[in-house]
Amino acid sequence: MKTNVRDAGGVQVVELKGKITIGSGDVQLRETINKLVDSGKKNILVDMKEVTTIDSSGIGELVGCYTSVTNKGGKLKLLHLPPKINDVLTVTQLITVFDVYESESEALASFRG
């Protein structure tokens, strides 16, 4: 998995590309988010548009990241969820846990609200 982090008006947009699966991308996701949290970044938007595959391990890491950020008083939201990843989050009822956006501008505005 490849990651790219950019600042968008104080919100850290984490762009993920590729697989978030066991042994390939799951730990990388955790390390990327932990690094942001440890440096005091509290508003994180994870762009999933180019995520091709996720498994239960990747979902677990996503949940762990959400908890880490929330416990530090921050917010982690999701952007551009591919339909099949949306399905995977829906069947485990995690879709109700995450704030999910289709538009980056709306997502960024939600952090200011």
């Binding site: 699966t21 066991i22 042994g23 390939s24 498994d55 239960s56 391990s57 979902i59 677990g60 890491e61 949940v63 762990g64 959400y66 908890t67 099949k84 995977v88 069947v91 485990t92 009822q93 995690l94 846990v97």
Partner: protein, 141 residues
């Protein structure tokens, strides 16, 4: 087929399963969920069964009989009680970072069974009816 306990082998097995499904007119959506369940079962065998001990193997059989895909995956680990795995939908478990693999297998396949194999290890048998095959055969008839 026997594989060493490496996560890198998961995609190779997914590719083999995909080839097995080729020519059976399996809709892409159905194929995707079968491959995800297969991934979860293999990851479970490698991580929890064999505890990533690369000297231990994962034993695999895949076949289509009639309109049903059957996949058997056996590890060489000490085994576990699948009923003891916590319900990932329970509110107290929803934010846990693990414990969803078996749930996904059961969600995406028609039948998922666990048993301790006579020669040791835990065996998972996954079955899925390939509905499109029926339709295709009916069309031919």
């Amino acid at each position: 087929m026997s594989l060493s306990s490496r996560f890198e082998n998961i995609e190779m097995v997914q590719h083999l399963c995909s080839k097995l499904l080729e020519g059976r007119d399996v809709p892409e959506e159905l194929r995707h969920w079968i491959l995800m369940a297969l991934r979860e079962a293999l990851a479970n065998a490698i991580k929890h069964g064999n505890q990533q001990d690369t000297t231990k193997h994962v034993h695999l059989e895949m076949d289509i009989v009639g309109d049903t895909l059957a996949i058997s995956i056996r590890d060489e680990g000490p085994g576990f009680d699948p009923e003891a795995v916590a319900d990932p939908l329970a509110p107290e478990n929803r934010l846990k970072t693990s414990g969803r693999g078996i749930f996904y297998m059961r969600t995406f396949m028609d039948d998922v069974r666990f048993r301790r194999h006579a020669s040791g290890g835990m065996e998972i048998v996954l079955k899925k009816t390939l509905g499109a095959v029926n339709e295709k055969e009916e069309d031919r008839a």
